[in-house]
């Protein structure tokens, strides 16, 4: 549709450089994580890229003790749901925060990770 389309690949290429890119609906201003074609709020198809701060707080978390084959040897590791200050949420791998310091409401900051040669979402201390 528009040239400003943020593909999944484009999102992760930018994330690898430390930049989180959201998309904002030209119709109603709703914010979303790409890729998305239609706005679920108003049905519009026009989105504009918008930089996200990467700052947010933990809304839930877990420590994975039994890992899938593709992450064998990495466990234990923590994963958290993080609500960014702009209002959208992402799941990420927690780095550089001891498990015992994890708590709902704790402030964290986006950090790009490379896990098995793929860019992945991480969060570390502010």
């Amino acid at each position: 549709m528009s040239d400003a389309r943020i593909t999944l690949q484009a999102f992760f290429e930018q994330a690898r450089e430390g930049k989180l890119v959201g998309i904002r609906c030209a119709g109603c201003g709703a914010l979303a994580i790409p890729p998305r074609e239609l706005c679920p709020e108003c049905g519009h198809r026009q989105w504009a890229p918008t930089a996200l701060s990467g700052d947010g707080e933990i809304t839930s978390f877990t420590v994975i003790r039994i890992a899938p084959r593709g992450h064998a040897g990495e466990a234990p590791y923590a994963i958290a749901a993080v609500r960014l200050i702009e209002g959208v949420s992402l799941l990420g791998r927690i780095v550089d925060i001891p498990f015992e310091d994890l708590a709902i409401g704790r402030k964290v900051r986006f950090r790009p990770l490379r896990i098995h040669d793929r860019t992945a979402i991480g969060f570390g201390p502010v």
Binding site: F61, T62, I66, L90
Partner: protein, 384 residues
């Protein structure tokens, strides 16, 4: 639309098998035909659930394979895949085929084989039902998904690990009464609370097992069902979805797809939560049962843990949940689970469940959840 009934049910023993998923389905299906007392030649279609056949058995195209092994190679058949809700999705579509008048007798089934691969591999394959780019990359597992739900529920409602453990204790107690259950032994709260950590706060005994097994049922139009021995009527069957990414879900302590599917199914059936006598629901993890009992309207939001702790969901309680032992003790062959839950409810409504019978059950409900809470199906059943 025409009324539709379940006229025959069959399941294999759940556990480890040295047979393919197609063989497991075929055994259950042949048993369902015997139970329905109709010849195989009456079956006009097969709606089939199978999830990780491509991974554990290197087998796609599993529905015609299943039909061939059963001995019905020429009927139309389609495989449904909505993660752990697959055969319940198959059921809903089969109901529509019969209700529409397109067919009079249709088979629904599902099967899964996973215990032929190591746990790290099955954990990996099941994780394929979460998002490849956002969730698999960080090592999210299915226990991890429900650990996030558990932590959010504990934070919002004060639900405790002991309340979650009470769900496992209750379902094992029920499973001990089910000769087809994978685990037929009772456990204690201490067993659960001291078991190995899988994804905090979930421990091994908060999690359902990996399971091989098959299940099948025969659906019939009212005209055919009237001539059968013990028809159990489909009162409603509804599906709902939710955002795929956990990050897009606003409140991890709830499963909105359960709430939407339940509302639609109750509306179709003209029933309310307080009308339900017996429930088979998707307790893939203990917290999942707690959240489901709330989402189905059986208990107020935030009180699902208390309900388990107080015995309100036990056999003999206010509304018995998972008299079969549930996914936790009966086992969870993911492609077969939705069909197997329906088999149990049909058995309960026929008053044929033996020591695990819910006395006087007239209305039953099944609830099946797929993957990262993005798919839910709810169906309601009743006696004449």
């Amino acid at each position: 639309m025409r009324r539709v009934a379940v006229i025959g049910v069959g399941t294999t023993k759940f556990g480890k098998h040295e047979r393919t998923s197609a063989e497991l389905f075929a055994e259950a299906a042949a048993d369902a035909l015997v139970d329905a007392a109709i010849p195989a030649s009456r079956i006009q279609a097969l709606y089939y659930g199978n999830v990780v056949g491509g991974e554990t058995e290197k087998q796609l195209h599993t529905s015609p394979q299943a039909a061939s092994v059963l001995g019905l190679p020429s009927i139309p058949t389609t495989r449904f895949e909505t993660a752990c809700a697959s055969s319940h999705a198959a059921f809903r579509h089969a109901v529509m085929e019969v209700a529409s008048g397109a067919s009079d007798v249709v088979m629904v089934g599902g099967a899964e084989r996973v215990l032929n691969v190591p746990t790290a591999d099955s954990t990996e394959y099941f994780a394929y039902a979460s998002d490849a780019a956002w969730e698999q990359t960080i090592g999210l597992t299915f226990p991890g998904v429900f650990a996030l739900v558990a932590r959010a529920h504990m934070h919002k409602h004060g639900t405790t690990e002991a309340q979650m453990a009470a769900v496992a204790v209750k379902n094992h107690k029920h499973g001990a009464l089910n000769p087809k259950a994978q685990f037929q032994k009772e456990i204690t709260l201490e067993t659960v609370l001291s078991s190995a950590r899988v994804a905090d706060p979930l421990k091994l005994y908060d999690c359902c097992p990996f399971t091989d097994g098959g299940a099948a049922l025969v659906l019939a139009s009212e005209e055919v069902a009237r001539r059968s021995r013990r028809p159990i009527w489909v009162l409603g069957s509804a599906a709902a979805s939710d955002w795929m990414l956990l990050g897009d879900k606003r409140d991890l302590s709830r499963v909105p797809a359960t709430e939407r599917a339940a509302a639609a199914a109750y509306r179709q059936a003209g029933k309310r939560p307080e009308d339900v006598d017996v429930v088979e629901l998707h307790d893939c993890f203990t917290i999942a049962e707690i959240v489901a009992t709330e989402g189905l309207g059986l208990f107020e939001p935030g009180t699902g843990g208390l309900a388990a702790e107080k015995g309100w969901t036990s056999l003999g309680g206010k509304v018995p949940v998972n008299p079969s032992g549930g996914l936790k003790a009966k086992g969870h062959p993911i492609g077969a689970t939705g069909a197997a839950q329906i088999c149990e409810i049909v058995t309960q409504l026929r008053a044929e469940a033996g020591p695990r019978q819910v006395e006087g059950a007239r209305t039953g409900l099944t609830h099946t959840l797929g993957g990262n809470t993005a798919t839910v199906l709810v169906s309601l059943f009743g006696r004449e």
